[in-house]
Amino acid sequence: GKAGDGDTAGGGGDSKTIGLLLPENKTTRYETFDRPIIEAKIEELCGDCEVKYNNAAQDTETQKKQFDALVTQGVKVIILDAVDYKATKSWVQQAEKKGVKVVAYDRLAEGPISAYVSYDNEKIGRLQGEGLVKALGAKAKESNVVMINGSPTDPNAPLFKKGAHSVLDTGVKKVVYEQDIPDWSPDEANKKMGAAIDSLGKNGFQGVYSANDGMAGGIITALKKQGVKVPVGGQDAELAGLQRILSGEQAFTIYKQIKPEAETTAEIAVKLLKGEDIASLTPTKVTSLTGEFKDIPAKLYDAQIVTKENIASTIIADKVYKAADICTAEYQAACAAAGIK
């Protein structure tokens, strides 16, 4: 009978817990970087705070359930990296009614959120485009490009795609082949690339845009098999991608400094929890993507293009990976050449 004695949503009960919801578990970053950094920072700022973490494995409905579970437990601040930034409107509205504050992390979740910390996904797309144009060098204007985009069901993929198009549509001759890859699947990307080569011929294109590093792996395998050597760019600065960059197979990746982003978010969350002002941490204001919610306090970071030349000054310097992680036996020589120790 006395089931709900752990007092819940009603009062200010659980004022020491911060919820952290991340969207997926199949790429490196979220579980490897975002989560530990945020947890560590919260621990540092608020010793007796607890972080409740959940990963939605790329499923909106699952994330909603996780969100509800946090609200049910009386969590007052939720850091939300939305699987689907649009779908969150009603969740955030309901949470707001219960006095739960939501910090949109990495993706601008729709709804009355309290703060937003991120990289601008469309801008990242633009960076990717620029990276590819740069890698093509002087011939860029005469080059045909293949675009391998992210998942058609992932609401973030169109943003990358849009940004990249805005650069490539003018920066190169033509996008001769373009495909969305369900689930960002590397082997699917491999097949699409193989088909593209078969269809366009080995000389039918001069560069490949890949929406992330995982797919770039599959794409490069397909290219190598046919003996095609053209610049390929990805995103995420995954270890495997960095190694390919070192060995010259991949031209660049996009590096988002996760640490500052994550730490700022943690700070904001703690401040919100303690009821402090966050204005100092959120210099800008943004409007939600549908335009419905305006003046959201925000902090936007800039991403960077990483090539062989600046791995040492970015990834290594920021301690994302240790030189030893990257420079396994196979890549020792390349590391040396790139000045990574």
């Binding site: 089931a3 909106t60 359930k65």
Partner: protein
Amino acid sequence: MSDLTKTPAPDAEQSAAPVPAVDPRLLVREEGLKGYWTEFTRKVRGGELGSLPVFIGLIVIAIVFQSQNGNFLSASSVANIAVYTSGLGIMAVGIVFVLILGEIDLSVGSVAGVGAAVWAVLNVSNGMNDWLAVAIAVLSGLALGLLHGFFFAKIGVPAFVVTLAGFLGWSGLQIWLMGQEGSINAPTGSVVEHLTGYYFEDKAAAYGLALVAVLAYAGSLLLDSKRRKAAALPARPVSEIVLRAGFVAVLCFVVAYVLNEPAGARGLPLALVLFLAVLVVADFVARRTTFGRQVFAVGGNAEAARRAGINVDRVRILVFGLSGLLAAFGGLFVASLSGGATKSLGGGNTLMLVIAAAVIGGTSLFGGRGKVWSALLGMIVIQSIQQGLNMLGMASEIQYMITGAVLLAAVVIDSVSRRTQKTAGRA
């Protein structure tokens, strides 16, 4: 011709010694509670446990998670589990019918996605009336289901292949329908938002429903028993009816209490009411109508059913239609839960969970055996596990492993008991 056997032939008076109606080898149950208990223990020993293992599993799950996180059995958590159970549970009801038919429907997730997309495009993007859009969405699910049924029954393509093609094709259709939008939000106050968002806050609702359920259950048992006695057939003793009704009453009122009373309770969720309504109707159809009987017959032995003059094709088409309809309806629940229709709605593990619910609940994958209520039981198990793990905030890969392990454990008890039955030659 019936008179042939009813009125004995002229010389029948010679057959003076009529065969006793009851076989002397049948172990008859004693009257009263004692008989109930001996029969119960005999059944347990013989491995005929019915839904008992799943019930026990559920209790174990509840105890374990409650001990880990005191909020697991809180009003709001229980209400959430009920709501989550409803959407996928409705899909699982359709699957139960398909499984009883001895077939499988892999397209439920995609059809749910199409249903949600149709609703969203009509209602939100084109401003159609709420109810009309919902009706069209559900009917489009029916249409897709009937199409599957047609290809399966009339053309003879294995249901697995038809619905696999549907699984791929309709998820393409869903993405295409959604067009440019990654997702379309359910407008505030819309029918779809209410599907999982509305709660009957009046306490009378939950208690009233519980009362009606118990009365209806007890009443039907009593009526049946009375009619059987009148027809001189063996009937359930009153003691058993009281026991059963009492059990149902405790269950219903405890749930109603948890939904109504504790702090943070929001009352009876509309979603649960709808799901229960679907269950009751579906159960009635399965057990008390000719159509239901035909579904079981076709699932048990399609050729025998055909020879008995059953229109096997019609039964098959209708069952797949039903499955499509319920999938689309369930899809609207999922949309309501996610905040709106998305391109990935119904993807991921939806299909697996829906089928798993039916199977965990005790419906056979090989046709001819199953209960509509297994959709409820199985889905509660699954959603409780997920809710519990979500509340504990475990790493997602560990969640996967635990879910897998618990799924297995939930069915192992059942399987072991059935194995006992099998060596006793009854399965």
